[in-house]
Structures are given as C-alpha cells and as structure tokens.
Point group: D4
Chain length 216, copies 8
C-alpha cells in the first residue's frame, strides 16, 4: 500500500544528497530506501540508526558502511576532500558530545568537506578555548556543540568573526536534560550573529556550513 | 555609582559595531552611551527604542537619526553600499513583519550592505513565493522572516541552495502568540541546513549574514 | 469489583463503532471487552496494541485479526467499501509516519470507507506534492499527517479547497520530539480553515472525516 | 520600500476571500490594503481591529463597515444567504465568548452562509445543552466555542453525529488564562472525531465549516 | 550512615497512618521501614511498588500482603468497615484508570472506609453517567478519576451537590500524555467547588475524603 | 442575536447561587444579567469586576453593592450567618493575598457561612502559624491561600486533621509570577489529603467548603 | 477585618530585617506596615515599589526615603559599613541590569555591608571581565547578575574560587523574555558550585551573601 | 580523531578537583580519563555512573573505588577530614533522596570535608525537623535536599541563619515528576537568602559549600 518518494533531485536543486532519518523507520524500510539510492547511483546516508538496526541492514546489504560514533550508515564511495586546511572547525564543550560531532563530520565528508575537530573546550575551564584561538583562524565556518548551559558558542561569537553555527546537545540532567536549556541559551545569546539549529542536529549544522561554503 | 563599559574593540575583533539594546535602558542611559560612541568616532546604533524614548533622545542629541519602522536610532554617517546587486535578500511572510525586516535592513546598512526586500510571500498563497525564485538567484544570503507557524524558511530551504537565516516573528495569537511556535517550527524543519535566530531578532540575522559575507 | 461499561449505542447516536483504547489496558481487559462486543454482534476495534499484547489476545481469541502497521486489532467482518474513487485521501510528510496513516486507514475501513494514500510528499521537496495535486481532486476530505515542523497541511490548505484534517506525528527529535511542534505549527497555520486533531491521532482524524462524509 | 502582495486568487483556488489579519498592522497599512481589495472588486475583510484603529480606518474610508462585537471591518456588499435553515450552528459555553462567536458568524456571512447561534450552553449546567439537542438536528456543521476547561465540544461530540469544530476561547484565569487549557482539553478529547482550531480562531473555524459545506 | 525517621505520630495528629512512597525506595529500604511499623504496632502501607519489588519484599516478610491492581503493600490487619452504604463513591472515565481507583480504595480500606466503585462512566457516552445519578445519592464524598481531557469531574460537579475530588489520570497520548491536560482541565473547571489532587494520586484523594468524613 | 442562559436551577441542584464571571463581560452584559437574577428573585453575585466596570454597573443599578477588596458585586440581601463559631477558617501567607481571601469570604457570606480570617501566617516566620493552631481547632474546613512557593497549605496539612483547600495566589515574580509555582507545589505536596483549586480561585474554594459543610 | 502579622523577630533569628514585598500591596497597606516597623524601632525596607506608589507613601510619611534605581523605600537610619574593602562584589552583564544591582546593593546597606559594583562586564566582550579579575580578589562573596543567556556567572565560576550567587535578570526578548532562559542556563551551568536565586531577586542574593559573611 | 582536554589546573584556580560527568560517557572514555588523572597525580572523581558501567571500569582499573549509593567512582586516596564537628550538615526530606545526599557527601569527602547527615526530616511531619534544630547549630553551611513540593529548605531558611543550599530532588510523580516543582518552589521561596542548584545536583551543592567554607 505504502511507498517512499525519494527526493533524488536534491543534489541538483541544493547541492546536497538526501539524508534519510533512520530513527522512526524499520530496518526493512531503510534497506529498501538504500537500494533505491544505489539504483539511482546516488550516495546513501542514513542518520540516527541504532546498533541493532545497523546490524540488520548490514546483514542484508554488506556494501553498507556503519559509522558507530556518528550512529549513521552510508552506501557508496565518499568523495575525497580537496587538499589544504579543513574549511570547517567543529568545537565541543565536553567529550560527552562525541556523537553529535561525529554526525556533523560525516555529513560534511559525504560532500567532500574536511573538518578540524576541537573537543572538550568548554567554558568551565576557559583557558582550554583561549589557547586554541590561533588554530581557528584558518577555518571558514565554525560549528560549536555544547550541552548543559550551552555557553560555548556565545563566548566564541564574542571572540572570532567567522559564521558560527551553535548546536545544542542533549547532555545534562535536571533542568538541562534533553538540551532545551542549551538551545534557548544559544538563541538568547548576547553575542552578535550566532545562528542555531535543533538539539543534537549535527547533520543540519553540516548542511548549513555547506551552504555557507558555496560563497568561497 | 554605575557605569557602562562599551565594547569599542568589537569592530576590530568581529568587524561589527556594538549595537546597544535600548528596550530596558532609560533615555538618559542611551544619551550617555551615544555620546561616548560619538566621542570614540564610532557609529552608534541603538535598537528597540520606543517612539517616546526616541523623542527624548533626539531632543538632547539632534544629530541622532530615528528610524521609525525599525524602532532604531543611529548616530553618525552610514557607509554607502558598493555598486552591484544587493548580496542579501530579506523575505517576509506577511506585511505585519515589517519592523523585523526593517531592523535587519538597517543593521546591514550600518555595515555598508544593501538588501533586496521581498515582503508578503507567505506559504498560504505559494505562487507568490514561487514567482520570485528567479529574483533570488543573485542573493548570496537569504534572511526569511515569518510569524504564525513560520513555514516560509522551511519551504525556501527546500528550493534554493544559499544560506538561509530563519527569523521567527512574534506575529500571531493563541498558540502562536509571542513567536515560539514559529521559532520551534523553524528549528524542527525537515529542510536541510536552515539556521535560526531568536524571535524578532532582525539585528542578529543581519550580523549572521555579515559573518557569512566575509567569505566572498 | 471493577467492570467496563461499553458504549454500544454509539453506532446509533453517532454512526460509529466504539474503538477501545488499548495502550493502558491489559490483554485480559482487552479480551473481555472484545468478547462483549462480539456477544453484542458489534464490530470490535482496539487501537494502540503492542505486538506482545496482540499475541496474547490472539492466543485467547483466534478470530481476532491483528493489523501490524496500524498497531490495531479487529474482531468481526469489515464492511466492503462501495465502488468508485476513494472519498478520503491520506497524505504524509515522510515514510516514518506509516503507523498513523495505517491507523486512520483501518478506522475508515471499519466504516466502509476507502482511502487513497499519498506517502512521503513532505515540503522539503515541494515538487513531490505539487505533482500530485490533480490526483487529489476527486477526494472529498483530506487527512494530512506530518511530523517535525508539520508544514504539510499548511501548504496543502493554501492550494486546495477541500476540508483538511491535520494530524501531527510524533516523529522528530530535540525541539520536535513528541510531536508538539508539529501540532502547534498546524494550529498556528496561516492557511485558512485547517482543523487539527491530537498528535498521532489517526483514529480521530478518520472519525472526523466520517462525520464530514455524512453530508455527501 | 515595502509592499503587500495580496492573495487575490484565493477565491478561485479555495472559494474564499483573503481575510487580512489586522492586529499587527497599522491603520495606514489596513487602509492601503482595503483600497486594493476594492480596486480589484473583491470583498475586503479585516479581523482583530481595535476600536481606535477601526475609527482611523473609517475616517479615511467611510464606506467601510465596522462590526464591533466581531472586532472586524468589511468593505463591499455581503452576499445574502440562501433561504432555508442555517447550515451552521455556533454554540458557546458562556456569554464571555461573544467576540469569537461574532467573528465566526461574520466570516461565514462574507461567504453567504447563515448561522444559528446558541450562547451560554456550558457544561456546568448540562440541561441547557441537552434541552437544545433537537434544535441542532438541522445543522450540517457545528462550531463549539468554550473557554476555561473547554469541555463543551467533547460533550457535544458524544451526543451528535455532525462534524464539530472546537474553538478554544481565551476566557479564564490562572491555569486557564490565555486558552491553552481549553485547547489542550479539546485535542485530548475522549469523544471521537472532534477537530480543533487555534485559540479564539473564529475566522478559521468559519473557513473550515465552509470547506465542509462544499460537499452538500 | 543514613536512616528513616517514620512519622509514627501521624495517626494521633491527623487520624491517618503514614503511607510510604515506594517508587524511589529499594526493597531493602521498604523491608526495614515495614519492620519498624510492625514493631510500633502500626499498620504499614506502601504505595507505588513494582511487581518485582513486591516479590522481593514478600520473600523477606511473608506476612506482607500485595495488592496487585493498586500496586501497594500492606502489613497488618485492615480494619473492617462499619455496616451501611459506603460513604465514598469512586468514579472513573474508562477502564484504563483501574490502578488509580484501586489505590484510592485500598487507602480508604486501611482506615475502615468502604467504597462504591463506578467504572467507565466517561463523558463520551454521557448516558452511562446520567443513568447512575440515583446511585450516587447515598455517597457523602465523590472521587472522580479521569484521563485524556478529564471532563468527568466537571460534568459531575454541575449535577450533584456533594464534595467532589478530581483525580487526573496519566492515561492518554500526545497532548494528554502524562495527565497534565486532565489536571489543568479539572483546575480550570467552570463547575463550582471542584477540588483537585496530583495526577494519579489515588492515595491523596482517599486521605482528602477521610478528612471530609470527620465532619459527619 | 446573542443571549445569556442563566443557570437559575443551580440552587436547587447544588445548593448554590450561580456566580457570574465578570472579567470578560462588558458592564452592559453584567447589568442585563443582574436584572434577570433580580427578576427571578435570586441573589446575584458577580466576581472579578474592575473598579471602572463596578462604577458603570452601580450607575445603572444603584441597589447593587460593590465589595472593593473582593472585586465583586452583589445584588440582593446576603443571608445572616447562624450564631456560633465560624465553621470556615481562611488563612493566608501574606497580606498581599487580601483580594483572594476577600473573594472566598464574600462567596461564603452569600450562602450564610461565617469565616475566621488569619492573614500573614506564612512559613518564612513559622511561629506566626504555630501560635494560631489552637484557634484553628473549632474550624470545620480550612482554606489556605499562598503565593510564591505556596508552602503554607503543605505545612498546615501536616499539623491539623481537617479538610484543607489550598488556593495558590498569583503573588510573586520571576519563576513564581502568575501563581503556577504555588499551584504546582500544592499539588505535589508531601502532606496527605490536601486538595487544590485554580490560582486565585477564592470563589471555588468557598464553594468547595460549602459542599464539605453539607455533611455536618 | 484583615491585618498584617510582621515578623519582627527575624533579626533575632536570622540577623536580618524583614523586607516587605511591595508589588502587590496598596500604598495604604505599605504605610500601615512602615508605621508599625517604626513603632517597633526596626528599620523598614519595602521592595518593588512603583514610582506612583512611592509618591503616595512619601506624602503620608515624609521620613521615608525612596531609592529610585532600586525601586525601594526605607524608613530609619541605614547602618554605616565598617572600614576596609567591600566584602561583596556585584557584577552585571549589561547596564540594563541596573535595578537588580541597586536592589541587592541597598539590601546589603541595610545590614551595614558595602558593595563593589562592576557593571557591563558581559561575556560578548570577554576582555571586559578578564581585565577586572585582579579587582575581584578582595571580595569574599560575588553576586553576578545577567539577562539574555545568562552566561556571566558560569564563566566567572570557572575563573575564581569565591562563592558566586547567580541572579538571572528579566532583560531580553523572544525566548529570553522574562528571564527564564538566564535562570535555566545558570542552573544548568557546567561550572562547579554556582548557586542561583529567583529572576531579578537582588534582595534574595543580598540576604544569601549576608548568610555567607557570617562565617568570616 | 577525538580527545578529552582535562582541566587539571582546576585545583589551582578554584581549589577543586575536576569531577567527570559519567552519564553520557562510555566505560572506555571513563577509563582513559581516569588513567590520565592518575598519571597527573590528581584524585579522580566520576559522577553518575551506572552499576554496569562501574563494573566495566573496575574490571579494567582495579584500584578504582565504586560508591554505590552515590553512583560515583573515585581513583586515589581521599584526604582525611580534620578533627572537630562536621562543618556541613546535609538534610533530606525523605529517605528516597539517598543518592543525592550520598553524592554531595562524597564530593565533600574528596576535599577533606566531613558531613553531618539528617535524613527524612520532611515538612509533612514538622516535629522531626524542629527536634533537630539544636543539632544544626554547629554547622557552618547547610545543604537541604527535597523532592515533591520541596518545602524543606524554605522552612529551614526561616528558622536558622546559616547559608542554605537547596537541592531539588527528582522524587515524585505527576506534576512533581522530574523535580521541576521542587526546583521552582525553592527559587520562589518567601524565606530570605536561600540559594538553589540544579535538580539532583549533589555535586554542585557540595562545591558551593566548599566555596563558602573558604571564608572561615
Ligand atoms: N487511537 C485512538 N485515538 C484517540 N481516541 C481513541 C483511540 N482509540 C480509542 N479512542 C477513544 O477513547 C475513548 C476511551 O477509550 P476506552 O478507555 O477504551 O473507553 C473511546 O471511546 C474512543 O472514542
Ligand atoms: N501514593 C502516594 N501518593 C501521594 N503521596 C504519597 C503516596 N504514598 C506516600 N505518600 C506521601 O509521601 C510522603 C513521603 O513519603 P516517604 O518518602 O515514604 O517518607 C508520606 O508521608 C506520604 O504522606
Ligand atoms: N524583592 C524581594 N525579593 C524576594 N523576596 C522578597 C523581596 N521583598 C520581600 N521579600 C520576602 O517576601 C516575604 C513575604 O513578604 P510580605 O508579603 O511582605 O510578607 C518577606 O518576608 C521577604 O522575606
Ligand atoms: N554530578 C555532577 N553534577 C553537576 N556537574 C558535574 C557533575 N559531575 C561533573 N560535573 C561538572 O561537569 C563538567 C563537565 O564534565 P565533563 O563532560 O566530564 O568534562 C565538569 O567539569 C564538572 O564540573
Ligand atoms: Mg571536560
Ligand atoms: Mg498577506
Ligand atoms: Mg522522505
Ligand atoms: Mg453562564
Ligand atoms: Mg470506555
Ligand atoms: Mg509578611
Ligand atoms: Mg553593553
Ligand atoms: Mg518519610
């Protein structure tokens, strides 16, 4: 009765592959969709895939590659990034933010963009961030991930002139459980020109960075 | 007893002038601050100034210019934009969004950036937006303002490849009063790579666009 | 000590069978209730039944039919729909919305109403919806299911004149987890005359459509 | 700089006139828009207009008609409804709901639809509603407005088979102030097939009723 | 290091035994507490005990009695209720509310109060409630439990003069998941003199009824 | 077009007069309603009437009595309370709660019930409450009003055995502005058998007390 | 009928004068209360007094002193602070926070404690704060006030070892309007050992500092 | 690719060891981090570690000590507290709050501070708290933990003059589930000078106490 209508023209319109949201789909739905991407000669990227679901997909499609930290699957060759310093730096407040950083990094890799990662530079120990400012200079776009109170992108946006994409992370407890406090703190930021994506949305931050890199 | 500590080095660090948040300041505080900007030979921009407060400031400082639609004050000459098509397009869902559009436009003017405005292209009459797609092609960055359910930036992000900054607007009533529904809809967008700023934050959207234009 | 008081006169009053809400009932409670429907010669429909609970009920009552996608049970013959084009079209934004679409479709089948399904026509790839507009013309009522920002029913309501019932779906994460963002976006819609039901309420949307079809 | 793009093709597409949301527009914006509707020979309807703004518009455009209870303006002749019993009944829980009832009634009048009003039939005195059930029989669609806990549409939907559009009203205080409790109660209704619109959205309920009447 | 300080004087001050909140305690903590109640010759009542925890407690203290529907444990003899019609009626909207009804009933039994249960008299089929009104006449206090939109206590409070304690139940989904919509609907009730307790608080409703029965 | 349907049989069914909610009604609506109560020989009670509206009503109906602290109007003779100690004590946490206390007191007076008021016995200075415990002994029902964190009814319910009706008051700021924190604190109370009404609902607390006094 | 029960023993128990919450009291209530403080030879402090109310109180009690920035009244001599560096530093993110800083400062003055104010050291221009770190060394307790995203206390708590009391300020708009975002950000802080008070609660922060100074 | 940047200078700056947030880290990440603390000769403290994760860490690092009640791990010798009465008292409302009390106690032990625990002194049986007041006199700082309505710190702050740190606990159900009601009640407290930390934040309360003890 029911069918998926893939957006295979997305690369043409937007310069992006369609990523498939895996969390609310069954392994069977994911397998069918990946086969159709493959038939259309398009790179397949599936996000938010649990380890169990990943195993079920790999059993059916051994050419699929599972990216454990990023909780993603890909089918097809990732394009090699051009030489030179990575145009995107991805920062994170703590090492608990790892999967969001990994999702953003993989989504950029799917489009041939390299990433410079700076983990655990949260504002509770400010020197860790201030020490890294020179390293940030070569980046064209910054993605800053933070949970709890989410102050990292705010502090960063007061220090450097590049575009900064804040990614609130669902790390925390009590009032910050689920990432809303980090999200709202980034939106309310007193620093000028910070933009924000949904909680844990590493993929969205990567696509926003991709749009910004068009202008180089 | 109490004093304001202006961030006069912001232009050097970030390429931006410091904008002063006028809503919770008295006319006296604003006057003092503008005088200090002027003394430092820096352009002064004050946002969220009510008509009454604007009148009080102008009475004391006749060189100040009031921008009624934008609810802003400026002191000092605005730089002339370079020739060529405006690099930023500002779209809005309805003509009620006027003051947010005007704030974004003025904040860009303060930095010598011209804007192409497209008002009242909301998704309830989709043809109004589809008709304008060719006109958007020359824009480097898009700012899309919308109240109520805030679907305009989502639809736009599915159609064009540029960076899109969604600005939720506090136009609406009941469940959408205050702009949270528009904000959350933009953050939850199924379209890839949309970024978002705070409700009614025309100034912040402008500064984000400015950061993105550095890369040209 | 405790007893269920079935609403067996609902068909007479409202032209509907009573659906039983299965989620917070034990298999034993469901079995007793289905036996009583059967004894009263009424079609039995139970919604929100987990696979485990469904198995327990089928073990006791082999005549029961389990509808896996819809997470429902029925006992008794479903009426055959009359010939002709289906009077209801059910659209969905993504293929993750499958169980809500299936619940609505089954609830209509229980009343002899056929459905035309249009899955995965979300607004991030607008052409998928615009392509299907002619097919929608023969529908008397539209049910539009969408998660995340829930913009599909809004866009639809600006394009076609039929009654449209928006069903927010609990597909999403972060700010849209649980479906509230989709719900509030549909309620705040700038498109005229969209009505809305509870999150994931496929059953309710079907019953609303049934009420609207009385007038044909 | 800025302009309104009226949706003058709405009647053709949807069989409706475009209503203008007056609350966040200035009198000047409203006057310009009404003049353009008039120039296009289309009926003009403006909702949520304060008495002061209405006076300012009437001073400029004496042909405009102000509807005080409905807080609306119209410009142009309202079509006469056809003979026969009104196809829409509008019920309300208390006499405080008057302006929402009036907005719905006027919006239907603009499309030639007559209304049967039943005010103050709230569930705290149930006999007032039960007494009126026979009178409801001739209605094709019911619009039920209620503030506070908003139980009226739920009780009604258990009693009669027609389509029922619930309109939560922002009457109440404390926990029900602003109408969210009424809204959520209607959405959570245990009665089958109730649909809901935004708080105080008399206009939207009317347009939904209009869509449902197409099928007669 | 750590110890529980039982409130063994509660019966003297308030005429109630102390109930122990079991949900966040380990089986070991519950066993120790019950032994101390028993040593003090006081009836022990523990609420919100999962089946697994109940088994662990019963293994250590075989004299404990588990009440499965009520999810409670007792240790000690329950007092026999005096002859005559039960002074408390407990109504519920659906048969999913069973455990809340059972908790209230058991807590009253611990104080020698008998209960008349009326299950599944929800407002979606109003006749089920109206039919039972005569049976309610002999009750001194009514406890009305309802999930979803929670309209039952409101309708009841418009019909009968006794004290009515509304108990919102966490049965529902989407907007009503967790019971807040039922709670807020009861608090916002347009019916006069309804009082409310926390979601699922059958124990609290029973203790409130006990306080009200002192005056007989 | 529109009419109020008074619930004149409320005294017969519930032993109460119908109170009219004045906040969202015009002076004209209130005047008409009071005239109809008077014509039916029933006591008229209108709550939440602003001073300006009260003046307008009194100008038209000089027999009306305005109760400034309670923000209410009455028309008709209040019944004299029977001799003996007042059966209801009304406590409040601070002297800012005065209007809620006054509304409850007046609503009881309309039914011939006398009240013992204990103002400003909040828990920040606990001795003020502990000193008054003997005075509370003769009360049959207690109404406890508190804003901010709303702890007064909780502390009280641990100390005395009577029925206690908690009334959260919209006194406070920041997190407690509007009274929700007081409301939720009362609902979450660890003290057994406290019941609660809506924020500022002095009238509802009074009607609940009236129901409880039936049993004496 | 109604009376205020002042907590005149607060100085003895807690070492503090009772502050009177002025916002929800009439000028008449405030006058009576101040007279009673004066009669008891106690310093009177009233917070949250609007300019109009302050004028009315001063007209009746000319010995009262109005503190305009702090929105407070005092009656009686403030104790002179001992010589030496001020033990409390009060920092604020922007000059819009002035009234909260002033309330905290005045409340400490009422207890003979001097304050070192550091205004406008928000994190958007981090150098302004880093420059002042040496000046903070002599402070025993820090009070840090911030609106918008409220990151100042978090950054501070990662840099200095003293007790830090975070005061969220209701400066901001959209998502940060009302101060909740600042509050939640401070509570969710990743910096160790930050404590927080209610939004705009300068008085409470001062009293917390006073408690901490007891230990010197 | 990714690395943790420990804040090993925290002891120097703040007099505290860095605690590692264990909940969102894998056992592998925790093992690596503890090894690096050990290599730097710093005490390692990891909070929020599930029993399973603790087992995995202990298998790899047998020198690690697991603290079951506190759900924490330590690596390295805890400093012995100096002789004399414990400077910190930790109170809790019920015995369900045990793990929060234990986390606070352990975090203080890591810094050589002893604790006097007072469990189960909740306000529903006030005498339990009043009886212990003399014992509290020797404490320099109080930490008060409470779930449900969270009134314990408020009552305490009205009785004793020391600094009080309120810790809301996620014990409760319905409206108080998750601890927000306790948190908001503490923030809204009418008692002067109470400060608050995040829900369940025993660690943060301990670090705040440590800051306050610097001044002795
Ligand atoms: N999936 C569903 N969604 C919404 N409402 C439902 C659903 N299933 C049953 N109901 C309604 O919930 C009411 C209460 O259910 P019950 O608890 O089974 O008596 C029924 O009368 C149905 O109208
Ligand atoms: N099921 C329940 N619902 C509401 N309150 C309860 C329940 N069970 C126990 N309580 C109350 O919770 C308080 C705290 O419980 P405990 O943590 O056991 O000391 C007890 O004094 C009871 O009054
Ligand atoms: N500005 C303020 N912020 C927080 N609490 C306050 C403030 N002013 C007074 N209070 C407290 O509020 C309590 C209740 O005030 P009142 O209603 O005047 O009895 C007083 O005892 C004070 O402790
Ligand atoms: N149980 C806890 N509660 C609150 N904060 C904590 C807790 N454990 C660790 N932290 C803080 O969280 C910060 C970030 O942790 P991490 O992700 O391990 O770098 C640490 O620097 C600690 O200050
Ligand atoms: Mg770290
Ligand atoms: Mg328009
Ligand atoms: Mg898709
Ligand atoms: Mg009425
Ligand atoms: Mg049922
Ligand atoms: Mg007081
Ligand atoms: Mg500044
Ligand atoms: Mg206990």
């Amino acid at each position: 009765m029911i069918d998926a209508r893939l957006d295979l023209k997305r690369r043409e319109r937007l310069g992006m592959v369609e990523a498939v949201w895996g969390e609310h789909k069954t392994a069977e739905q994911i397998i069918t969709i990946l086969e159709r991407f493959s038939a259309a000669d398009e790179l397949g990227l599936v996000t938010r895939v649990s380890p169990e679901k990943a195993d079920a997909v790999l059993a059916a499609l051994p050419a699929v590659k599972a990216h454990a930290h990023a909780r993603c699957l890909t089918l097809g060759e990732l394009p090699a990034p051009p030489p030179g310093p990575p145009p995107v730096a991805v920062l994170s407040g703590g090492s608990s933010d790892r999967s969001v950083v990994a999702e953003a990094t993989l989504a950029l890799s799917c489009h041939g963009i390299a990433v410079d990662p700076l983990m655990d530079v949260g504002v509770a120990g400010l020197h860790r961030l201030l020490d890294q400012l020179p390293r940030l200079e070569s980046a064209v776009v910054l993605i800053a991930c933070a949970g709890m109170e989410g102050a990292l992108p705010t502090v960063l946006a007061g220090l450097v002139p590049q575009p900064i994409i804040g990614v609130p992370v669902s790390v925390g407890y009590g009032i910050s459980q689920g990432g809303r406090t980090a999200l709202e703190g980034m939106l309310a930021s007193c620093a000028p020109g910070l933009t924000v994506v949904n909680i844990d949305n590493g993929y969205g931050a990567a696509m926003a960075a991709l749009r910004m890199l068009r202008n180089r």
